[in-house]
Symmetry: C2
Subunit: 261 residues, 2 copies
DNA sequence: GTAGGCGTTCCGTCAAACGGAACACATGTA
DNA sequence: TACATGTGTTCCGTTTGACGGAACGCCTAC
C-alpha cells in the first residue's frame, strides 16, 4: 500500500502513541505539534476527536489530560493481552529462590528498544527501580544484551548503524565488543554484567521467546554489587535461565506472538 | 463541532474500542464491519493502517490478531494511568480483615456500564470471578448499585430509558425499586444485596469518587451465601465503606479524574 | 454445480483533512 | 504602557484520500 501525505488515521495513531510514551499531562496542542512535526491545527482537530470519544479531557486551564476512556480501553487490552499475569508466579518463585529483585523485560522491534513490564521486588531494602515502563536501549547491560543477542543479524546491524548510546561508563558501545558478548550469550544461555546500565548493579538475564520463536524479552535479576560475588554468577545464571525457559513455555502454551518487525 | 458523515479518525477509534472490548482474536474484517455497521472496505482500510503501525498482525490464515504495538501502547498507558497500584494495598488490607474476595469496580459514563478492574482473592477456595475486565450493567447487584446511586439524576434517567437488563431473577428491573435502593445507599453509605448479579453471592459495596467529585467506581466484597449471615452486613459494610473512603482519598491525592459524560 | 463465507481491489464522488494566517487571550518583559 | 511571545482556537480555499457498492479470486460446505 502506498502511503500518501495525508493520512488522518495514521496521524491520529501517531499522536496516540506519542501520548502513551510521553505521559506527563497536561499535554499541549503545540507541544505535540512540534514533537510530531505536524501543524497545530491538525493536532487540535485530532485532540477534538479524542476528546469527543472520551480519550482526552480538559483540565480547566485549556490543557488536555487523559480521559477515562483512554484508560479503560488500554486497561482492557493490557489485561487481555498482557503476559504479566501469565508468568508472574514464575518470577515470584525465582525471586524467592534467589532473594533478589526479578524483572521481566519486553522488546519492541519497531522502536528497537526494550522496557521492563513487571518487577518482583526482593525484601531487601533496595532502591526502587524507576525504569519500569520506560523505553530503554537494548544494547546496554545484561538486561538488554540477553534480548539483543537473539535478534537477527540485520536487526543488530540496524541498531549498530543507529549508533550505540553510552548509558554508563561501562556500557559496551562498539560493534566488536557487543558481538563478542552476543556470542557468549549463545554459549552460556544467560548474560551477566556489572554496571553497564545501572552503576553499582549486577545484572543477570536470559531470553524469553514467543510462540513464533522470536525473542519476546527476558527474565532478569539485579543484584547490588556489595551483595554480589563472582561465584554466584553460575548458580544464579542457571536459575534465571531455567525460569526464562519456563516462561517461554508459558508464552508458547498461550500462543503468544510478537509482531513482525 | 458538527460531525459529518465521514470521520476517519473517529471511526478508527471506534474500531480500536471495539477490538479492546471484544478480545477474541482473530478478528475478521466483515465481522467488525457488521458489528460497527461500516463497510468492509472501510474496516479493511483501517486494519491496513493498524497493521502498518504494528497494532495488528496477521495470523497466517488471513485473520487479524493483536500486534505487539497494540499491547505496548496500552500497557504504557494503563501502567501510567491505572489507579490499581495506587489502591491495591488498601484492597488487600480489606481482604485480610474480612477474609473474603475484594473487588475494585470502575464506571464508564460513556458506556453507562462498569467493570471490575482488580480483584484480591480470599484464601477460601472460591470460584474464580470470570467477570473481571468485562463490561457489565451498572444497575445490578450491590456492586453496581453503589455506583448507580451516585450518578446524576439525568444519568440514571437515561439508563432507565435504555431499559434494565434482567441479569438474574433477583435483579431489580424497575425504576421504582432501584430508586428506593438508591435512597438507601445514600443513607447507609454502602449497599448489600443477594444474588442480584451472581446467583448464590452476597455483594457489599461502597462508592469511590475521583478528585473532581464524580463517582469513579466502587469497592466491593463478595461472600458466598453459605458463609454469610445477616448479622455480618453491618460490620462488613462499615469496613467496605471505610476502605472506599480511603481509596477516594488516594485518588484525590493523585489528582485522579473521571471523564465528563 | 451452487451457495455462501472470506479478504481484497477497483472506482467515481465529494466530504473533510490539511496548513497558513489570523484571532483572542494570557503571560513576562522593557 | 507597549511589546513580544506563549497559548488554544477559528477561518478558509485547496485537494486528497475516505467512502461504499460492486466485483474478483479463493476457499469450504452441501
Amino acid at each position: 500500500m502506498v502511503v500518501g501525505e495525508r493520512e488522518p488515521v495514521g496521524r491520529a495513531l501517531d499522536v496516540l502513541t506519542w501520548l502513551a510514551s510521553n505521559p506527563r499531562p497536561p499535554w499541549s496542542v503545540r507541544q505535540v505539534a512540534r514533537a510530531l512535526e505536524m501543524s497545530p491545527t491538525t493536532i487540535h482537530r485530532i485532540f477534538g476527536v479524542f476528546e469527543g470519544r472520551g480519550l482526552l479531557d480538559r483540565d480547566g486551564d485549556g490543557g488536555y489530560v487523559a480521559g477515562i476512556e483512554l484508560y479503560l480501553i488500554c486497561h482492557s487490552v493490557a489485561a487481555q493481552l498482557s503476559p504479566v499475569p501469565l508468568v508472574r508466579h514464575h518470577l515470584e518463585a525465582l525471586c524467592e529462590k534467589c532473594d533478589e529483585t526479578v524483572l521481566l523485560g519486553a522488546y519492541d522491534p519497531k522502536r528497537t528498544r526494550m522496557m521492563f513490564i513487571d518487577v518482583v521486588e526482593s525484601p531487601h531494602p533496595v532502591q526502587y527501580l524507576s525504569t519500569l515502563n520506560e523505553w530503554m536501549p537494548v544494547h546496554s547491560g545484561a538486561t538488554g544484551i540477553a534480548i539483543f543477542a537473539f535478534l537477527t543479524e540485520p536487526e543488530r546491524k540496524a541498531i549498530y548503524a543507529k549508533g550505540l548510546e553510552q548509558v554508563t561508563d561501562r556500557t559496551l558501545v562498539t560493534e566488536r565488543e557487543l558481538e563478542k558478548a552476543v556470542q557468549r550469550v549463545h554459549e552460556l544461555g544467560y548474560v551477566c554484567s556489572r554496571g553497564q546500565r545501572t552503576p553499582g548493579a549486577v545484572g543477570i538475564a536470559a531470553p524469553v521467546f514467543d510462540s513464533a520463536g522470536n525473542v519476546f524479552g527476558d527474565v532478569c535479576i539485579t543484584i547490588p554489587e556489595q551483595r554480589f560475588e563472582d561465584s554466584m554468577a553460575e548458580t544464579v545464571g542457571a536459575a534465571v535461565r531455567e525460569t526464562s525457559e519456563v516462561v517461554t513455555g508459558e508464552l508458547r502454551r498461550a500462543g503468544y506472538r510478537r509482531g513482525v518487525a
